[in-house]
Amino acid sequence: MRARTRAVVTGVGVVSAWGWGREPFWDGISGGGTAIGPFSRFDHAGYRTHVAGEVPPPPSSLPEAIPGWPRLSWADRFAVAAAREALAEAGLLAAAGPSPDLAAAGLFFASSTGGMLEGEEFYLRLRGAAAGRAALRWIATQPVSSPAEAVARAFGVAGPVETVSSACASGTIALGRALDALRSGEAELALAGGADSLCRTTYGGFNSLRSVDEEPCRPFLRERGGLSIGEGGAVLVLETAERAAARGARVLAELTGAGSTSDAGHMTAPHPEGAGAARALAAALADARVEPAEVAFVNAHGTGTPLNDVAEGRALAAVLGNGAAPVAVTSIKGAVGHLLGSAGAVEAAATVLSLARGTVPPTAGRGELDPETGVDLVRTARVAAPGVAVSLNLAFGGCNAALVFAPAAADRAAAPAAG
C-alpha cells in the first residue's frame, strides 16, 4: 500500500464545566470528582431535573481578548475560546489580526444546537412568555453553523468551513472529516472541534425521554439513572506530519483512523447489541491499520443511560474482547456531562491529553460497576498502557462514530510512514 498522509495533533483547547481552559479540564477529569451540579444558564424550575455541567463565568480577561464578545452566543464563545487556546498551543495564534497560516486551513466543526439558547429567548419573548422585546439580535446567532463561522471570522480561516450536526456523534464525525481533508490534500492544516451550550430544548427534550439522571450521571455503574447535560467545547489543531515536522511543532498525538456507521434501527435507542457501534469501531481500527489487541484504552460514550452503557459495553466486547487482557474503559461524562454535538470533540481532546500525558482519567460517579456492561472501568487514574486509544460515540438517529489516536513518537513524527 502506498504511503498515506498522516495527521497529527499539535494543539488542544477546551472549555468545560471545569472552566475556560485545557488545564482546569485535565485537572478536573483526572481528579475523579464532578463539575456537574446546580446551574443557572436558564430558569429550570419547571423541569424534571436540576443538575447540569455548566461552564462557570469566564475569566475577566477573556471578553476583552475576543473581538465582538457581547454579540456572540455562549456556544460561539466556547468555540472561539477553545480555538484560541488550541492555536496558541500549536504556535499558530497571530499577535493581531488573521493568522496567515490559516488562510488555506480547513475548519471542521460540530454542534447540536448552535445559538439555540439565545433563539429560545427570542421565541419566549415573541410569545410573551419572557419579559423584553423580541429583538432580532437574539436569533442572529441561531444557525448551527454560527460557532464555526465565529471561529473562522475571528482567526481568518479561509479554507473549507463545515459544521456537522449528527447529534451526539457530531464532534467525532467532524474530526473524521478533518482527517479525510488532510489525507486527500484538501488542506494541510485544519481545526476540528465543536461547541454547544445548555438550552431548554435539549434539556427539556432529554427529560421528556426520561433520560436525565436527577444526580450527576454515573456511567457504567449499577445505580446510573441517565445522562447529565453539559456545555462547552473543544478544538484540536490537526496538520500533516510533514507540515508539523517542517515547522518543528510539538506533536501531542496522531489521529490514525476514523469510522462511522448508522444502526438504521431506532431513532433514539441504541441497537441492543451495539452492532452499529461495533462496526464503526472496527472500521476505525481498519482505517488506522491496527489490530484490536493494540488498543490500550477507550474513551467511551458512556452516557450513564441504562441502555447506552450496556449496548456500548457489548460493542466494545465484540470488537476488542479477544485480547489477552480486558481493555481499560473510561467515560468523562460523569465529570463534565454530555456535551451533545460537541461531546466527541471534548472527548477527543481528553483522549489526546491522555496519550500526551500517559494517564487515563477515571470515570466519576458513586456506586458499583454494573457487571452487565462487561467493561474494565477506570475508577482511579491509571498509567496508560502502550498502544493506541479509541474515542467512541453513539448518537440519536442511530449514528455511531469512532476515532483512533496513537501516541506521538519522535521517530514517527519525523517522516511519513509507508502504509
Partner: protein, 423 residues
C-alpha cells in the same frame, strides 16, 4: 496525494439516481417543466394562528416554494410511515427511496429489516432542521409546562432526524452525516458524499439536501429583509430570495460499481471543495469573492482542470442583494476577461434551500434546454454577470455548481458528463 474530487481507486464517483420532493411535486420531470417555464414556484403561506414575527411596515413577503400539504408521497412513503415523521424526514425518506429506485437499486423492504446495508451512506445538508417540531416543543413548554414537551417532537426536531429516518427506511447502515452550512450546504453535501465514496468509506451514498419552511421561519427571514416573492438573480433590482422546502438527493457510487450492475450514470463528480470568506458579516455575504475564486481555481488545478474547462455554471445566486454580488465577483475573478460560460440561476424558480437547483446541472449535462431568465430585465453594472436567457446550452460536458452562504461559507462541485474522457 490523491485528488480531492471523485477519483476513487475503482474509478470515478458517478451519479446514478436522483430523488426530488418539492413545490412542483415528485420527481425530475415536473421540476424540469417548471424550470423551462422559468416562473418562481411561489405559493402563499398562511401564517395562521402560529406565532410569527410581524413584518416591517410596507414590506412583508408571505410566499414560499412549499411542498403542497396534501401531496401524496406514495409510493415512496406510506401514510403509516409518514405519521411518525416530521415534514423534512418525510421529504428525505421519499426522495431517498426515489433516488435508489431511479438508480436501479432495491428501495428496500422498509424499516426493521435486518441487517442494514453497511455499504450505503447518507450525507444530508439542512439549513434550519425540523423547525416546526422545535417550535412545537417550545409551545408545549410555554402553553403547558416544560414537562409537557413531547419525546416524539424532540426526537424528530434534531438536525439529523431526516438522516436517521433515511437510514432506517432506506436501510442505510453506512456513514451518516448531517451538515448545517446554510446556503452552501447542498454542494457541500454532494462533495462530502463523493469524498466518502472516493475514500472507500462507503460504496454508495445518498447525498443532497432537505429543508422545511415554517411560517415562523418565513417571518424571521422576511424581517431580516432576505425575502422576495419575485427573485431576480443578478438583476439590478433584485431584492431577495424565495424560501423553499423539499428534498433533493443524489445516489453516488463508483463508476465501476454502476457499470457492473448495468446502471447508466447521469453524471460524474469530478471535483469539489469549499472556502470561507472571513469578510462576511454574521448573517450576510462579504466582499471576498476573489479569494474564494482563487480557492476554486486551485481545486480545479488539483484535478488537472482550469476555468476554461467549465462549459456552464449552475449558480447558487438566489436574488439576494449581497449574495449575488459575492457570486458575481467570484465568477468574474474565476473566469477572468473572457467572462464566464453560460450562467444558469435556477433558484429564480426553485427558490433557496432544499437543493433543487442541483437538478439543473444534471439537466444541462443531459442536453436539455434551460428555461428563460424570467423576471430578469436590468443587468447590474456592478455585477457584470448576466444569466443565460433560456434555450439550448450547447455542448455542456462540465458544470460548475456553486453555493455561497450568508455568514461566509462557500462550497462547489464540478459535475461532468459520464462519458467525458478524464484529462
Amino acid at each position: 496525494m490523491s485528488g480531492t474530487g471523485g477519483s476513487a481507486a475503482g474509478g470515478r464517483v458517478v451519479v446514478t439516481g436522483l430523488g426530488l420532493v418539492g413545490a412542483w411535486g415528485l420527481g425530475l420531470e415536473p421540476l424540469a417543466a417548471a424550470l423551462l417555464a422559468g416562473e418562481p414556484l411561489a405559493g402563499p403561506v398562511d401564517r395562521g394562528a402560529a406565532a410569527s414575527v410581524p413584518p416591517r411596515a410596507g414590506r412583508g413577503v408571505e410566499v414560499a416554494a412549499r411542498v403542497p400539504p396534501d401531496l401524496s408521497l406514495e409510493p415512496w412513503l406510506s401514510r403509516r410511515e409518514a405519521r411518525r415523521m416530521s415534514p423534512p424526514s418525510r421529504f428525505a425518506v421519499a426522495a431517498g427511496r426515489m433516488a435508489l429506485g431511479a438508480a436501479g437499486l432495491p428501495v428496500g423492504p422498509g424499516a426493521g429489516a435486518d441487517p442494514p446495508d453497511p455499504d450505503l451512506g447518507v450525507v444530508f445538508a439542512t439549513a434550519y432542521g425540523a423547525s416546526s417540531f422545535t417550535q412545537g416543543m417550545l409551545d408545549q413548554a410555554i402553553d403547558e409546562e416544560p414537562e409537557a414537551m413531547s419525546p416524539y417532537l424532540f426526537m424528530e426536531s434534531v438536525a439529523n432526524a431526516p438522516a436517521g429516518q433515511a437510514a432506517i427506511h432506506c436501510r442505510a447502515g453506512g456513514p451518516n452525516e448531517t451538515l448545517c452550512q446554510r446556503e452552501a450546504g447542498p454542494p457541500a453535501a454532494v462533495g462530502r458524499g463523493a469524498a466518502l465514496v472516493a475514500a472507500g468509506r462507503a460504496r454508495r451514498v445518498l447525498a443532497g439536501a432537505v429543508e422545511e419552511i415554517t411560517p415562523l421561519l418565513l417571518s424571521v427571514l422576511d424581517r431580516f429583509g432576505a425575502l422576495s416573492a419575485r427573485p431576480r438573480p443578478f438583476d439590478r433590482r433584485r431584492d431577495g430570495f424565495l424560501a423553499a422546502e423539499g428534498s433533493t438527493l443524489l445516489l453516488l457510487e463508483r463508476d465501476d460499481d454502476a457499470r457492473a450492475r448495468g446502471a447508466e450514470p447521469l453524471a460524474a463528480v469530478r471535483a469539489r471543495g469549499g472556502a470561507f470568506d472571513p469578510t462576511a458579516p454574521r448573517n450576510d455575504w462579504g466582499r471576498g469573492g476573489a479569494a474564494v475564486a482563487a480557492a476554486i481555481a486551485r481545486g480545479l488545478a488539483r484535478e488537472g482542470l482550469g476555468p476554461g474547462d467549465v462549459d456552464a455554471v449552475v449558480s447558487g445566486a438566489s436574488g439576494a442583494r449581497r449574495g449575488d454580488r459575492f457570486e458575481a465577483e467570484l465568477l468574474r475573478e474565476l473566469f477572468g476577461p473572457a467572462g464566464p460560460p453560460p450562467v444558469l440561476a435556477p433558484k429564480r424558480v426553485t427558490g433557496e434551500y432544499g437543493g433543487a437547483y442541483l437538478a439543473a446541472a444534471l439537466l444541462a449535462l443531459a442536453g436539455r434546454p434551460a428555461g428563460p431568465a424570467a423576471g430578469f430585465s436590468e443587468p447590474d453594472p456592478e455585477l457584470g454577470v448576466v444569466p443565460h436567457g433560456g434555450g439550448a446550452v450547447q455542448g455542456v460536458s462540465r458544470v460548475l455548481v456553486t453555493g455561497s452562504a450568508a455568514g461566509g461559507s462557500a462550497a462547489w462541485v464540478i459535475l461532468e458528463s459520464p462519458g467525458t474522457v478524464q484529462r
